[in-house]
Symmetry: C2
Subunit: 251 residues, 2 copies
Protein backbone atom coordinates (compact mmCIF):
# COMPACT_ATOMS: atom_id res chain seq x y z
CA UNK A 1 0.00 0.00 0.00
CA UNK A 2 1.31 3.42 -0.90
CA UNK A 3 0.84 6.88 0.51
CA UNK A 4 -2.31 8.68 -0.62
CA UNK A 5 -0.83 12.08 -0.02
CA UNK A 6 2.93 11.81 -0.19
CA UNK A 7 4.91 14.78 1.03
CA UNK A 8 6.96 15.50 -2.05
CA UNK A 9 9.36 17.84 -0.33
CA UNK A 10 10.27 15.14 2.16
CA UNK A 11 10.78 12.68 -0.67
CA UNK A 12 13.23 15.08 -2.25
CA UNK A 13 15.13 15.33 1.02
CA UNK A 14 15.31 11.56 1.31
CA UNK A 15 16.49 11.19 -2.28
CA UNK A 16 19.20 13.71 -1.52
CA UNK A 17 20.28 11.80 1.58
CA UNK A 18 20.57 8.57 -0.36
CA UNK A 19 22.46 10.23 -3.16
CA UNK A 20 24.85 11.64 -0.60
CA UNK A 21 25.26 8.19 0.93
CA UNK A 22 26.11 6.63 -2.44
CA UNK A 23 28.49 9.34 -3.59
CA UNK A 24 30.15 10.18 -0.30
CA UNK A 25 31.38 13.73 0.31
CA UNK A 26 30.70 15.95 -2.69
CA UNK A 27 29.76 19.43 -3.84
CA UNK A 28 26.38 20.94 -4.63
CA UNK A 29 26.74 20.71 -8.39
CA UNK A 30 27.77 17.06 -8.46
CA UNK A 31 24.88 16.22 -6.18
CA UNK A 32 22.47 18.15 -8.37
CA UNK A 33 22.95 16.16 -11.57
CA UNK A 34 22.20 12.91 -9.76
CA UNK A 35 18.88 14.38 -8.63
CA UNK A 36 15.77 15.76 -10.28
CA UNK A 37 16.12 19.16 -8.61
CA UNK A 38 17.70 22.50 -9.31
CA UNK A 39 20.88 23.71 -7.69
CA UNK A 40 19.14 26.16 -5.35
CA UNK A 41 16.74 23.49 -4.17
CA UNK A 42 19.58 21.10 -3.39
CA UNK A 43 21.32 23.89 -1.55
CA UNK A 44 18.25 24.69 0.53
CA UNK A 45 17.80 21.07 1.54
CA UNK A 46 21.47 20.70 2.39
CA UNK A 47 21.56 23.74 4.65
CA UNK A 48 18.37 22.62 6.34
CA UNK A 49 19.73 19.14 7.03
CA UNK A 50 22.95 20.74 8.20
CA UNK A 51 21.21 22.83 10.83
CA UNK A 52 19.84 19.66 12.33
CA UNK A 53 23.09 17.68 12.30
CA UNK A 54 22.16 15.29 9.50
CA UNK A 55 24.65 16.82 7.09
CA UNK A 56 28.10 18.34 7.60
CA UNK A 57 30.02 20.79 5.51
CA UNK A 58 33.79 20.76 5.21
CA UNK A 59 35.10 23.42 2.89
CA UNK A 60 33.01 23.22 -0.27
CA UNK A 61 31.94 19.63 0.28
CA UNK A 62 28.86 18.24 1.97
CA UNK A 63 28.61 14.85 3.63
CA UNK A 64 26.31 12.90 5.89
CA UNK A 65 26.70 13.49 9.62
CA UNK A 66 26.45 11.06 12.50
CA UNK A 67 22.89 12.05 13.39
CA UNK A 68 21.68 9.12 11.33
CA UNK A 69 23.78 6.84 13.51
CA UNK A 70 22.15 8.39 16.56
CA UNK A 71 18.65 7.67 15.31
CA UNK A 72 19.61 4.26 13.93
CA UNK A 73 21.51 3.32 17.07
CA UNK A 74 18.60 4.29 19.27
CA UNK A 75 16.24 2.26 17.07
CA UNK A 76 18.44 -0.80 17.29
CA UNK A 77 18.98 -0.45 21.02
CA UNK A 78 15.23 -0.35 21.58
CA UNK A 79 14.76 -3.76 19.93
CA UNK A 80 14.41 -6.50 22.52
CA UNK A 81 15.65 -9.09 20.06
CA UNK A 82 18.90 -7.18 19.57
CA UNK A 83 19.46 -6.72 23.28
CA UNK A 84 19.08 -10.41 23.97
CA UNK A 85 20.91 -11.71 20.91
CA UNK A 86 23.90 -9.36 21.01
CA UNK A 87 25.87 -11.06 23.80
CA UNK A 88 25.20 -14.51 22.35
CA UNK A 89 26.44 -13.53 18.90
CA UNK A 90 29.57 -12.15 20.53
CA UNK A 91 30.30 -15.37 22.37
CA UNK A 92 29.59 -17.34 19.22
CA UNK A 93 32.30 -15.28 17.52
CA UNK A 94 34.72 -15.73 20.40
CA UNK A 95 34.16 -19.47 20.72
CA UNK A 96 34.54 -20.20 17.02
CA UNK A 97 37.13 -17.53 16.32
CA UNK A 98 35.17 -16.70 13.17
CA UNK A 99 32.80 -13.92 12.02
CA UNK A 100 29.33 -14.08 13.59
CA UNK A 101 26.32 -12.12 12.32
CA UNK A 102 22.83 -11.09 13.31
CA UNK A 103 20.14 -10.40 10.72
CA UNK A 104 16.48 -9.41 10.82
CA UNK A 105 13.92 -9.05 8.06
CA UNK A 106 12.40 -5.65 7.39
CA UNK A 107 10.28 -4.70 4.39
CA UNK A 108 11.27 -7.91 2.64
CA UNK A 109 14.99 -7.25 2.94
CA UNK A 110 17.61 -8.58 5.34
CA UNK A 111 19.18 -6.01 7.64
CA UNK A 112 22.38 -6.79 9.52
CA UNK A 113 21.99 -5.67 13.14
CA UNK A 114 25.59 -6.43 14.11
CA UNK A 115 28.65 -8.47 13.35
CA UNK A 116 31.25 -9.72 15.74
CA UNK A 117 34.73 -10.82 14.79
CA UNK A 118 36.54 -13.70 16.50
CA UNK A 119 40.32 -13.96 16.57
CA UNK A 120 40.69 -15.55 13.14
CA UNK A 121 37.69 -13.94 11.50
CA UNK A 122 37.67 -12.97 7.84
CA UNK A 123 36.79 -9.34 7.18
CA UNK A 124 33.75 -9.09 4.94
CA UNK A 125 32.34 -5.79 3.79
CA UNK A 126 29.17 -6.17 5.80
CA UNK A 127 28.28 -3.64 8.48
CA UNK A 128 25.47 -2.90 10.92
CA UNK A 129 22.58 -1.51 8.87
CA UNK A 130 23.55 -3.12 5.57
CA UNK A 131 20.65 -4.49 3.52
CA UNK A 132 20.75 -7.63 1.42
CA UNK A 133 18.29 -9.70 -0.55
CA UNK A 134 17.20 -12.51 1.72
CA UNK A 135 17.71 -15.30 -0.82
CA UNK A 136 21.41 -14.52 -1.26
CA UNK A 137 22.67 -15.37 2.24
CA UNK A 138 22.42 -18.26 4.66
CA UNK A 139 20.97 -15.83 7.21
CA UNK A 140 18.24 -14.78 4.82
CA UNK A 141 17.39 -18.35 3.87
CA UNK A 142 17.10 -19.30 7.54
CA UNK A 143 14.52 -16.54 7.93
CA UNK A 144 12.62 -17.24 4.70
CA UNK A 145 12.36 -20.93 5.59
CA UNK A 146 10.31 -20.04 8.64
CA UNK A 147 8.05 -17.36 7.25
CA UNK A 148 4.53 -18.23 6.03
CA UNK A 149 4.59 -19.23 2.37
CA UNK A 150 2.48 -16.30 1.25
CA UNK A 151 4.88 -13.83 2.87
CA UNK A 152 7.73 -15.49 0.97
CA UNK A 153 5.78 -15.11 -2.29
CA UNK A 154 5.13 -11.48 -1.44
CA UNK A 155 8.83 -10.87 -0.81
CA UNK A 156 9.87 -12.54 -4.07
CA UNK A 157 7.30 -10.39 -5.86
CA UNK A 158 8.48 -7.20 -4.23
CA UNK A 159 12.24 -7.69 -4.14
CA UNK A 160 12.89 -10.12 -6.98
CA UNK A 161 15.40 -12.97 -7.16
CA UNK A 162 18.41 -11.22 -8.57
CA UNK A 163 21.35 -13.63 -8.97
CA UNK A 164 24.52 -12.38 -7.28
CA UNK A 165 26.82 -15.13 -8.57
CA UNK A 166 26.30 -18.07 -10.99
CA UNK A 167 25.90 -20.43 -8.03
CA UNK A 168 23.22 -18.44 -6.26
CA UNK A 169 19.49 -19.08 -6.26
CA UNK A 170 17.72 -17.65 -9.27
CA UNK A 171 14.25 -19.11 -9.52
CA UNK A 172 11.16 -19.44 -7.39
CA UNK A 173 11.14 -23.24 -7.51
CA UNK A 174 14.81 -23.53 -6.67
CA UNK A 175 14.28 -21.29 -3.66
CA UNK A 176 11.35 -23.26 -2.27
CA UNK A 177 13.30 -26.49 -2.68
CA UNK A 178 16.21 -25.03 -0.75
CA UNK A 179 13.92 -23.69 1.99
CA UNK A 180 12.43 -27.16 2.38
CA UNK A 181 15.92 -28.49 3.06
CA UNK A 182 16.61 -25.72 5.55
CA UNK A 183 13.47 -26.64 7.49
CA UNK A 184 14.48 -30.31 7.54
CA UNK A 185 18.01 -29.66 8.76
CA UNK A 186 17.12 -26.77 11.06
CA UNK A 187 19.89 -24.57 9.68
CA UNK A 188 20.80 -22.89 6.39
CA UNK A 189 24.06 -23.07 4.48
CA UNK A 190 25.82 -20.83 2.04
CA UNK A 191 28.68 -22.68 0.39
CA UNK A 192 30.40 -20.05 -1.71
CA UNK A 193 27.21 -18.62 -3.21
CA UNK A 194 27.74 -15.13 -1.98
CA UNK A 195 31.52 -15.13 -2.09
CA UNK A 196 33.82 -17.77 -3.60
CA UNK A 197 35.57 -19.67 -0.82
CA UNK A 198 33.28 -18.47 1.96
CA UNK A 199 31.07 -20.84 3.89
CA UNK A 200 28.25 -19.70 6.20
CA UNK A 201 25.95 -21.55 8.56
CA UNK A 202 22.85 -19.79 9.83
CA UNK A 203 20.06 -20.67 12.27
CA UNK A 204 16.71 -18.95 12.77
CA UNK A 205 15.57 -17.53 16.11
CA UNK A 206 11.87 -17.85 16.87
CA UNK A 207 9.69 -16.52 19.67
CA UNK A 208 7.30 -18.49 21.84
CA UNK A 209 4.55 -18.37 19.20
CA UNK A 210 6.92 -19.74 16.55
CA UNK A 211 7.39 -16.45 14.66
CA UNK A 212 10.88 -15.81 13.24
CA UNK A 213 12.57 -12.88 14.91
CA UNK A 214 15.76 -13.10 12.89
CA UNK A 215 18.76 -15.32 12.32
CA UNK A 216 22.35 -15.72 13.48
CA UNK A 217 25.30 -17.11 11.55
CA UNK A 218 28.96 -17.92 11.44
CA UNK A 219 31.00 -17.15 8.31
CA UNK A 220 34.37 -18.77 7.72
CA UNK A 221 36.77 -19.44 4.85
CA UNK A 222 36.29 -22.86 3.25
CA UNK A 223 39.88 -23.71 4.17
CA UNK A 224 38.91 -23.83 7.82
CA UNK A 225 35.55 -25.57 7.39
CA UNK A 226 35.79 -29.21 6.31
CA UNK A 227 32.83 -30.88 4.66
CA UNK A 228 32.34 -32.65 7.97
CA UNK A 229 32.28 -29.42 9.97
CA UNK A 230 29.74 -28.00 7.55
CA UNK A 231 27.21 -30.54 8.76
CA UNK A 232 28.71 -31.35 12.11
CA UNK A 233 30.14 -29.25 14.88
CA UNK A 234 29.61 -25.82 13.39
CA UNK A 235 25.83 -26.07 12.89
CA UNK A 236 25.69 -27.54 16.37
CA UNK A 237 27.21 -24.40 17.83
CA UNK A 238 25.08 -22.01 15.85
CA UNK A 239 21.90 -23.88 16.72
CA UNK A 240 22.88 -23.95 20.36
CA UNK A 241 23.44 -20.17 20.40
CA UNK A 242 20.09 -19.64 18.67
CA UNK A 243 18.50 -21.81 21.30
CA UNK A 244 19.97 -19.78 24.15
CA UNK A 245 18.59 -16.60 22.59
CA UNK A 246 15.15 -18.18 22.25
CA UNK A 247 15.17 -19.18 25.91
CA UNK A 248 16.22 -15.71 27.03
CA UNK A 249 13.64 -13.96 24.86
CA UNK A 250 10.83 -15.78 26.58
CA UNK A 251 12.29 -15.10 30.03
Amino acid sequence: MDAKHPVRTTEKTLALVEELMDRGPCGVTELTDGLDMGKSAVHNHLTTLREHGYVLKTGDEYQLGLKFLEVGGATRKSMEFYQVAEPEVKSLANETGELANLLVEEQGMGVYLMRSKGDEAVDLDTYAGLRTHLHTTALGKAILAHLPEDRVEEIIERRGLERKTPRSIGSRDELFEVLEGVRDRGYAIDDGERLEGLRCIAAPVKDSSDEVLGAISVSAPASRVSDEDLHGELPERVLSAANVIELNINY
Copy 2:
Protein backbone atom coordinates in the same frame (compact mmCIF):
# COMPACT_ATOMS: atom_id res chain seq x y z
CA MET B 1 25.68 30.11 10.50
CA ASP B 2 22.09 29.24 9.80
CA ALA B 3 20.15 28.39 6.68
CA LYS B 4 18.97 31.39 4.65
CA HIS B 5 16.13 29.48 3.08
CA PRO B 6 15.26 26.60 5.35
CA VAL B 7 12.97 23.95 3.91
CA ARG B 8 10.23 24.05 6.51
CA THR B 9 8.57 20.87 5.31
CA THR B 10 11.79 18.95 5.82
CA GLU B 11 12.15 20.46 9.28
CA LYS B 12 8.72 19.14 10.15
CA THR B 13 9.71 15.68 8.99
CA LEU B 14 12.86 15.79 11.11
CA ALA B 15 10.94 16.97 14.15
CA LEU B 16 8.57 14.06 13.65
CA VAL B 17 11.45 11.59 13.42
CA GLU B 18 12.96 12.87 16.65
CA GLU B 19 9.62 12.79 18.40
CA LEU B 20 9.20 9.21 17.27
CA MET B 21 12.67 8.39 18.55
CA ASP B 22 11.91 9.85 21.98
CA ARG B 23 8.47 8.31 22.36
CA GLY B 24 9.09 4.95 20.73
CA PRO B 25 6.23 3.19 18.94
CA CYS B 26 3.04 5.23 19.12
CA GLY B 27 -0.11 6.27 17.31
CA VAL B 28 -0.81 9.28 15.11
CA THR B 29 -2.73 11.21 17.77
CA GLU B 30 -0.12 10.81 20.48
CA LEU B 31 2.55 11.90 18.04
CA THR B 32 0.50 14.91 16.99
CA ASP B 33 0.27 16.59 20.38
CA GLY B 34 4.04 16.54 20.76
CA LEU B 35 4.36 18.39 17.47
CA ASP B 36 3.21 21.69 16.05
CA MET B 37 1.26 20.07 13.22
CA GLY B 38 -2.22 18.81 12.53
CA LYS B 39 -3.19 15.17 12.49
CA SER B 40 -3.47 14.94 8.72
CA ALA B 41 -0.03 16.48 8.26
CA VAL B 42 1.53 14.01 10.67
CA HIS B 43 -0.20 11.23 8.83
CA ASN B 44 1.07 12.41 5.46
CA HIS B 45 4.64 12.60 6.72
CA LEU B 46 4.41 9.18 8.35
CA THR B 47 3.13 7.44 5.23
CA THR B 48 5.80 9.15 3.15
CA LEU B 49 8.59 8.05 5.48
CA ARG B 50 7.06 4.60 5.53
CA GLU B 51 7.22 4.22 1.77
CA HIS B 52 10.94 4.80 1.97
CA GLY B 53 11.64 2.43 4.86
CA TYR B 54 12.33 5.07 7.50
CA VAL B 55 9.16 4.30 9.39
CA LEU B 56 7.28 1.08 10.02
CA LYS B 57 3.68 0.46 10.89
CA THR B 58 2.53 -2.39 13.07
CA GLY B 59 -1.19 -2.41 13.67
CA ASP B 60 -2.13 1.12 14.62
CA GLU B 61 1.33 2.09 15.81
CA TYR B 62 4.15 3.72 13.95
CA GLN B 63 7.83 3.36 14.78
CA LEU B 64 11.23 4.10 13.30
CA GLY B 65 12.64 1.56 10.86
CA LEU B 66 16.18 0.34 10.38
CA LYS B 67 16.80 2.58 7.38
CA PHE B 68 18.40 5.08 9.72
CA LEU B 69 20.82 2.38 10.83
CA GLU B 70 21.64 1.73 7.18
CA VAL B 71 22.50 5.37 6.51
CA GLY B 72 24.26 5.79 9.85
CA GLY B 73 26.15 2.53 9.48
CA ALA B 74 27.34 3.48 6.01
CA THR B 75 28.43 6.89 7.30
CA ARG B 76 30.44 5.35 10.12
CA LYS B 77 31.97 2.70 7.90
CA SER B 78 33.20 5.37 5.52
CA MET B 79 35.19 7.11 8.26
CA GLU B 80 38.84 6.18 8.06
CA PHE B 81 39.29 6.92 11.75
CA TYR B 82 36.63 4.38 12.66
CA GLN B 83 38.06 1.71 10.40
CA VAL B 84 41.51 2.05 11.92
CA ALA B 85 40.44 2.52 15.54
CA GLU B 86 37.81 -0.22 15.68
CA PRO B 87 40.12 -3.25 16.01
CA GLU B 88 42.31 -1.46 18.56
CA VAL B 89 39.36 -0.56 20.77
CA LYS B 90 38.29 -4.18 20.61
CA SER B 91 41.66 -5.47 21.74
CA LEU B 92 41.76 -2.83 24.46
CA ALA B 93 38.48 -4.25 25.74
CA ASN B 94 39.73 -7.83 25.52
CA GLU B 95 43.05 -7.13 27.19
CA THR B 96 41.58 -5.19 30.10
CA GLY B 97 38.36 -7.17 30.35
CA GLU B 98 36.54 -3.86 30.77
CA LEU B 99 34.35 -1.62 28.61
CA ALA B 100 36.23 0.28 25.89
CA ASN B 101 34.78 3.22 23.94
CA LEU B 102 35.42 5.33 20.87
CA LEU B 103 34.20 8.93 20.65
CA VAL B 104 34.44 11.69 18.07
CA GLU B 105 33.38 15.32 18.21
CA GLU B 106 30.69 16.54 15.83
CA GLN B 107 28.91 19.88 16.00
CA GLY B 108 30.28 20.49 19.49
CA MET B 109 28.93 17.25 20.89
CA GLY B 110 30.56 13.90 21.56
CA VAL B 111 29.30 10.98 19.49
CA TYR B 112 30.07 7.40 20.47
CA LEU B 113 31.17 5.47 17.39
CA MET B 114 31.34 2.11 19.13
CA ARG B 115 31.77 0.33 22.42
CA SER B 116 33.33 -3.02 23.04
CA LYS B 117 32.80 -5.14 26.11
CA GLY B 118 35.54 -7.25 27.69
CA ASP B 119 34.78 -10.31 29.81
CA GLU B 120 34.14 -8.41 33.04
CA ALA B 121 32.77 -5.22 31.53
CA VAL B 122 30.06 -3.18 33.21
CA ASP B 123 27.03 -2.53 31.04
CA LEU B 124 26.45 1.19 30.64
CA ASP B 125 23.55 2.61 28.69
CA THR B 126 25.78 4.03 25.99
CA TYR B 127 25.38 2.90 22.40
CA ALA B 128 26.83 3.65 18.99
CA GLY B 129 25.43 7.01 17.91
CA LEU B 130 24.69 8.34 21.39
CA ARG B 131 25.51 12.02 21.91
CA THR B 132 26.90 13.53 25.09
CA HIS B 133 28.16 16.89 26.19
CA LEU B 134 31.93 16.78 25.86
CA HIS B 135 32.69 18.17 29.32
CA THR B 136 30.83 15.36 31.08
CA THR B 137 33.04 12.40 30.10
CA ALA B 138 36.72 11.52 30.14
CA LEU B 139 36.49 10.93 26.41
CA GLY B 140 35.11 14.40 25.82
CA LYS B 141 37.71 16.05 28.03
CA ALA B 142 40.50 14.24 26.17
CA ILE B 143 39.18 15.77 22.96
CA LEU B 144 38.53 19.26 24.35
CA ALA B 145 42.04 19.38 25.81
CA HIS B 146 43.51 19.15 22.33
CA LEU B 147 41.19 21.46 20.43
CA PRO B 148 42.20 25.09 19.83
CA GLU B 149 41.06 27.31 22.71
CA ASP B 150 38.65 29.31 20.56
CA ARG B 151 36.90 26.16 19.40
CA VAL B 152 36.45 25.17 23.03
CA GLU B 153 34.96 28.60 23.81
CA GLU B 154 32.66 28.20 20.82
CA ILE B 155 31.51 24.79 22.03
CA ILE B 156 30.84 26.05 25.57
CA GLU B 157 28.85 28.90 24.07
CA ARG B 158 26.83 26.64 21.82
CA ARG B 159 26.27 23.61 24.05
CA GLY B 160 26.53 25.01 27.57
CA LEU B 161 28.09 23.43 30.65
CA GLU B 162 25.12 21.66 32.11
CA ARG B 163 26.06 19.79 35.29
CA LYS B 164 25.11 16.13 35.23
CA THR B 165 26.04 15.33 38.84
CA PRO B 166 27.25 17.52 41.74
CA ARG B 167 30.82 16.38 41.11
CA SER B 168 30.89 17.26 37.42
CA ILE B 169 32.39 20.32 35.82
CA GLY B 170 30.10 23.35 35.89
CA SER B 171 32.09 26.45 35.06
CA ARG B 172 34.30 27.74 32.31
CA ASP B 173 37.31 28.26 34.59
CA GLU B 174 36.99 24.86 36.17
CA LEU B 175 36.92 23.26 32.73
CA PHE B 176 40.03 25.04 31.48
CA GLU B 177 41.89 24.08 34.63
CA VAL B 178 40.97 20.44 34.15
CA LEU B 179 41.95 20.54 30.48
CA GLU B 180 45.34 21.92 31.45
CA GLY B 181 45.83 18.87 33.66
CA VAL B 182 44.74 16.54 30.86
CA ARG B 183 47.34 18.04 28.55
CA ASP B 184 50.07 17.62 31.20
CA ARG B 185 49.26 14.00 31.93
CA GLY B 186 48.38 13.04 28.36
CA TYR B 187 45.15 11.38 29.40
CA ALA B 188 41.80 12.35 30.94
CA ILE B 189 40.06 10.88 33.94
CA ASP B 190 36.49 10.61 35.07
CA ASP B 191 36.34 9.49 38.68
CA GLY B 192 32.67 9.04 39.38
CA GLU B 193 31.56 12.31 37.77
CA ARG B 194 29.26 10.76 35.27
CA LEU B 195 28.19 7.80 37.35
CA GLU B 196 28.90 7.13 41.03
CA GLY B 197 31.43 4.33 41.35
CA LEU B 198 32.55 4.38 37.72
CA ARG B 199 36.08 5.33 36.72
CA CYS B 200 37.13 6.12 33.16
CA ILE B 201 40.49 6.80 31.54
CA ALA B 202 40.57 8.35 28.08
CA ALA B 203 43.31 9.27 25.63
CA PRO B 204 43.08 11.47 22.54
CA VAL B 205 44.01 10.28 19.06
CA LYS B 206 45.67 12.85 16.81
CA ASP B 207 46.65 12.82 13.16
CA SER B 208 50.03 13.69 11.70
CA SER B 209 49.29 17.43 11.81
CA ASP B 210 48.33 17.23 15.49
CA GLU B 211 44.57 17.59 14.99
CA VAL B 212 42.37 15.52 17.33
CA LEU B 213 40.44 12.85 15.49
CA GLY B 214 38.70 11.47 18.55
CA ALA B 215 39.39 9.66 21.80
CA ILE B 216 39.36 6.15 23.21
CA SER B 217 38.67 5.07 26.75
CA VAL B 218 38.29 2.28 29.26
CA SER B 219 35.47 2.38 31.82
CA ALA B 220 35.56 0.21 34.91
CA PRO B 221 33.94 0.02 38.34
CA ALA B 222 35.97 1.74 41.06
CA SER B 223 36.19 -1.58 42.90
CA ARG B 224 38.48 -2.91 40.19
CA VAL B 225 40.56 0.24 39.68
CA SER B 226 42.83 1.10 42.59
CA ASP B 227 44.11 4.62 43.01
CA GLU B 228 47.42 3.30 41.74
CA ASP B 229 45.90 1.79 38.61
CA LEU B 230 44.14 5.08 37.95
CA HIS B 231 47.51 6.72 37.33
CA GLY B 232 49.51 3.64 36.53
CA GLU B 233 48.92 0.65 34.35
CA LEU B 234 45.50 1.53 33.00
CA PRO B 235 46.42 4.90 31.43
CA GLU B 236 49.50 3.16 30.07
CA ARG B 237 47.36 0.71 28.15
CA VAL B 238 44.94 3.30 26.86
CA LEU B 239 47.75 5.57 25.71
CA SER B 240 49.47 2.68 24.04
CA ALA B 241 46.32 1.76 22.12
CA ALA B 242 45.87 5.41 21.10
CA ASN B 243 49.43 5.41 19.90
CA VAL B 244 48.90 2.32 17.75
CA ILE B 245 45.90 3.97 16.12
CA GLU B 246 47.91 7.12 15.42
CA LEU B 247 50.64 5.09 13.76
CA ASN B 248 48.16 3.19 11.61
CA ILE B 249 46.30 6.33 10.56
CA ASN B 250 49.44 7.82 9.10
CA TYR B 251 50.37 4.55 7.35
